[in-house]
Amino acid sequence: MSAGESASVTIPLVPPRTGDPEITSELVADHGLSDDEYERICRIMGRIPTFTELGVFSAMWSEHCGYKNSKRLLQLLPTEAPWVIQGPGENAGVIDIGDGYALAFKIESHNHPSAVEPYQGAATGVGGILRDVFTMGARPIAILDSLRFGDLDSARVRYLFGGVVSGVGDYGNCVGVPNIGGEVAFDRGYEGNPIVNAMCLGLMKKEDLITASASGVGNTLMAVGARTGRDGIHGATFASEELSEESEESSRPQVQVGDPFTEKLLLEASLELISSGSITGIQDMGAAGITSSAAEMAGRAGNGVEIDVARVPVREPDMTPYEILLSESQERMLVVATKGYEGEVHRILEKWELEAEEIGEVTADGRFRVLEDGAVVADMPALPLTDGCPTYEREGIEADEVRELREMDLAEHLIPEGDLTKAFLLLLASPNVASKRWIYHQYDTTVRTSTAVRPGGDSGVIRIRGTEKAIAATTDCNGRFVYLDPRQGAMIAVAEAARNLVCSGAIPTAITNNLNFGNPLKQHIYYQFREAVLGMADACKAFETPVTGGNVSFYNETDGLAIYPTPVIGMVGIIENVSHISPQSFQSEGDDIVLLGENTAEIGGAEYLYVTAGLVAGFPPRVDLTHERQLQRAVLTMIQEKELRSAHDCSEGGLACTLAECALGDGEAPFGVNVVLDDALPPVATLFAESQGRIVVSCAPDRTENVIRLAMDHGVPARKIGTVGGREESFHVTAVSGQIETDLTSLHQAYFGALPAIMNTPVSSEK
C-alpha cells in the first residue's frame, strides 16, 4: 500500500459537527490548498473531508510541515557519515562525539512571528529549538542565534533589532542555557523581513537517545506542560474572519507569548521522564500543534492515534476541535506513556508543578482519529498526512537584474575617494563589522560553567565535563554573496563556517541549516534556492560535514520584494583536547603575524562597497574548496602542535578589519600592529576585499619558520606580514600605495562604540 491510498474498504463517515462551516471552494483556498491538492485529499479520504479534517490536512500539507517545494532538492544534500547517529527526519540531528556521548543539534527560524512582534517572536523561536533538542533526551548546553535586519538608521528597524535581541536573551537566560555565538547582518535587503534563526546544541549519553515515535499499540498519549489556547491557529494559511461570525479579531491572537519559566520546568520534567523509562516517545507541539506532533509520531511508528480533544487542558472556554488541534500555544509536549506507567508520568509532572493529561492512545489501525467527548470529528489515514504531501520541482531562472549587478564594472571603486584611514574607521564602525558586544552582553554566556570561548570569537566553545573534549559551534552566511551568486554564496557559507571552527581548534563535523528565502513559486527565487542547495551540497561533501537536519523558511517578502537568499549554516566541530582551544586575538607583543592564503582584488559583494557606495554588486569572491580544505588542515595541525598563539579567519571588512579584531581582543588591552603588505594590488583590494581562504595567525618569532613550512607542506601560501606591537603603539598597516595609521583609542572607539551609539537613539514600534 503506498502512501496516499487507504486500503480500508469501508470508509468511516464522520457527520458534520454543529457550528462548523460548510466546505466550499473558498474555504479550501483559504486553507492554502490548490484544487489538485484538495482532490487528492478527497481521494485519500474516499469522501469529502469535514472542516476539522480539512484543517488537519491543510496544516500538514503546508509548506512549513510538508516541505512541498523543497523536499526534492533537499534530498541532494549529503546526510551520512560514520559519526551520524540521527540524520534529517527527527526533532534534531545527533552525532557521536566519542567517550560515550552524543550531541544533538538543530536550527529553526522564527522570521514571520518576529516581524510582527520581535520580542515574543524571537523568544518563542528559542523556546521551540530548545524543545527540539531536549525531546531527543539531550540537555541543552548552548544556543546560537543568526539574525538579519534592515539598515539601523530606521527607528522601526532599531525597534525590531532591540526587541529580537532581548527576546532571544530573556528566554535563554531564564532557562539557563548559555549563548555562545551567532551572527547579525544589517542591509536594506532585510528591511521589513528580519531573519531570526536560533540554533541549539544538546548533550546526552548515547544510550539516552529517544526518538519521537508513537510506538506500542495501546500506549497512552498525554498532553504535558502548558495549556492550549487560541495562539497562532493556522497563522500561515487561514484568515481568521472566515472561521465563524462571532470570532472577532481579538479572540484569535496570532502572537504566541513565550513562558521560559514553564519551559525550564518542562525541560527538567522531560529529561526526568525520559530517564525514568516510563515513556516511549516525546515530541514538542510546535508548528501545527497537536496535529503535527501526533501525525508525525504515528507516521514514524507506522501506527495510528486516537485523541479526544475534550480531554486536552485548555486555557480558554469553548474551543472547537479545530482550534485545539491547530493551536500553536508554546511550552507543550506530546508524550507516549507506556501502558501502565501513566501514574509515573503524573508523579514526575506534579513534582515540576506542571499539568499532564491523558488524551488518547496509540492504535493499530493506522488512522488519525479525533473525538470530541467521545463523538468522532475526524477520522483519516495517518500516513498520508506526513508522507502523502505532494512535492514539486519547479523551474528556476535567474533574475536579469541580479546578473547585471554581478557583472557591474567595479574598477572605479578600487580607487579610494579620500583618506584610507578614514574609510577604514568607517568600515570598522559599520554595524556589520563592529563589535557585537551590545548584543551578547544581553545574553548569559557563562551559565552551566562550561563555556570555554564566549561569543565574540570565531566560534563558541563548550567543554565537555569529564572528558578532554570540547565542542565548537558557529553559524554563517553572507546573504549578499548568495544574492549575487547563490551557488558560490552557499559554498562560501559552508567554507566560512568550517574555517571559523578550525580557527578555534575544532574539526568540522556536521551541519544543520536554515534556508531563508522568498516565495519559491517565483522562478528567480526557486533558482536561488536550487543553486544554493547545490552549492551547499558540494561544499558539505568537500568538508565531510554531513547535513543532519535543518529548516526551510520561504515567503520572506514584503510588497513583492524578497530578502537576500540566506541559507544559514550552523556547523558543529569537535575539539579533541581542550588544550587545543585557540583564541582569535593577539596574545603577546613582539609575536609575528603570518597570513595564510592570498589577497586578491575580489571586491564584489564586500562591505566596503556597501559602506562607501551603498552598493551590493560584483562577482562574490571565488572559493576554492581544495584550497580551503588544505588551509584548514594546515591550521588545525599548527594548533594541535602548539605552534600558534592565535588564529582568526578573514571575512566581512577584509584583511584590515581582521587585523583590527586581532589587535583589539575583548577591548581591555589592545595591542599595536605593524603590518606591511607587498601585494601588487590597489590598496583598497589588499585591505578591504573579502577574498576567501585566508586566515591570520600569530606565533612566537621562533615558531614563524615552522609555521610557514607547515603551511607550504599543506600547499598553502604563507608569509610573515608584520608583528604585534605594544599596548602604547598604534595600528599601522601599509599596502603598496596607501596605508592605514591610527591610534588604538580611535580603533577601540570605532569598533566598540558603534552599536551602542546607534542603539542609544530612540526606537519606535510604528511602521
Binding site: 537566560n173 539557563g176 525550564k264 548569559d444 551559565v447
Partner: protein, 232 residues
C-alpha cells in the same frame, strides 16, 4: 562538611553551585524547595536563576516557598547562608538582607566579566581573601541594581556590611565600573552578624582557568576553612 544547595522551580545555577562546592571537597546535596527540616547541614546556598520566572519581582515568589522558613531559622541561628544572584534577590525579599534589587539602570540584562573589591574578610565566605583584593568574575542579571534609602546605606557602610563593591580592573570606583547602577556600587552585602552573604556576581563561574578566572574559588575555600575550624 555538608552543604545544601536549594533548588527552586526556575533555579538554573544550582548545578553550577553544586560543582563549585564539590570542587573544594564539600559533601553537597540538592534541597528541593518544598523540603522541610534542614537538620544536619553546615551551610546553605541559594543559587542563581529565575525562580518562578522572576515574573512578579525577582525572588518574590520563591520567598514564600516552604523551605524558606527553615532557611530563615538556620540563618538566625548563625548558620552560614550564601545567596548568589537570584539567591541574593530571594534573601532580600525574605528580609534576611536589607534593601532590594531593582532593574538594571540600563534596563538590559547585563552579562559580562566585572571586577569587585573585597572590603570585608570577616565573613565565612571571604576569610581567604585579602582586604583590598580585586576579583574578576562574571555577572549575568537583569535586576541587580541595589536600592536602599540613605539611612540604610549609611548604616550598612558604618557597620562594614558591604562585602564586595564594583570597581574597575585597577580598583577605581566609577560609574562605568558599576554595571547595574547599584547604590554605592554595592555588589555583595552581609547581614549584621555576618553569616548571611548575598552577592550578584557569580563566584561559582570563576573556579577554573578554562572558564577565564579562578577568583571565585576563595568564596568556597573560605567556607571550607571556617567550617573545618568550627566543626573539628
Amino acid at each position: 562538611m555538608r552543604v545544601g544547595v536549594v533548588t527552586f522551580p526556575g533555579s538554573n545555577c544550582d548545578y553550577d553551585l553544586y560543582k563549585a562546592a564539590q570542587q573544594i571537597g564539600a559533601k553537597v546535596e540538592f534541597i528541593w524547595h518544598r523540603q522541610k527540616n534542614l537538620d544536619g547541614y553546615d551551610a546553605l546556598m541559594l543559587p542563581g536563576g529565575f525562580s518562578y520566572g522572576d515574573y512578579l519581582r525577582a525572588g518574590a515568589i520563591a520567598r514564600i516557598s516552604p523551605v524558606m522558613e527553615d532557611i530563615i531559622g538556620f540563618a538566625e541561628n548563625g548558620g552560614p547562608v550564601l545567596g548568589i544572584c537570584n539567591g541574593f534577590q530571594i534573601l532580600c525579599e525574605a528580609g534576611l538582607l536589607p534593601g532590594s534589587l531593582v532593574r538594571n539602570a540600563s534596563l538590559r540584562f547585563e552579562s559580562k566579566d566585572i571586577h569587585v573589591l573585597v572590603e570585608q574578610t570577616d565573613t565565612p565566605f571571604t576569610s581567604e581573601y585579602q582586604k583590598g583584593q580585586i576579583l574578576r568574575m562574571p555577572i549575568a542579571h537583569g535586576e541587580g541594581n541595589y536600592e536602599a534609602d540613605d539611612q540604610l546605606l549609611e548604616e550598612l557602610e558604618a557597620e562594614g556590611r558591604v562585602v564586595f563593591r564594583y570597581v574597575s580592573s585597577d580598583g577605581e570606583l566609577s560609574e562605568e565600573a558599576n554595571p547595574n547602577g547599584s547604590k554605592n556600587s554595592i555588589a555583595g552585602l552581609s547581614n549584621k552578624s555576618g553569616n548571611v552573604l548575598g552577592m550578584m556576581p557569580h563566584p561559582e563561574r570563576a573556579m577554573e582557568e578554562i572558564l577565564g578566572s579562578i577568583d571565585g574559588v576563595g568564596v568556597f575555600l573560605s567556607l571550607a576553612t571556617n567550617l573545618s575550624t568550627v566543626v573539628l
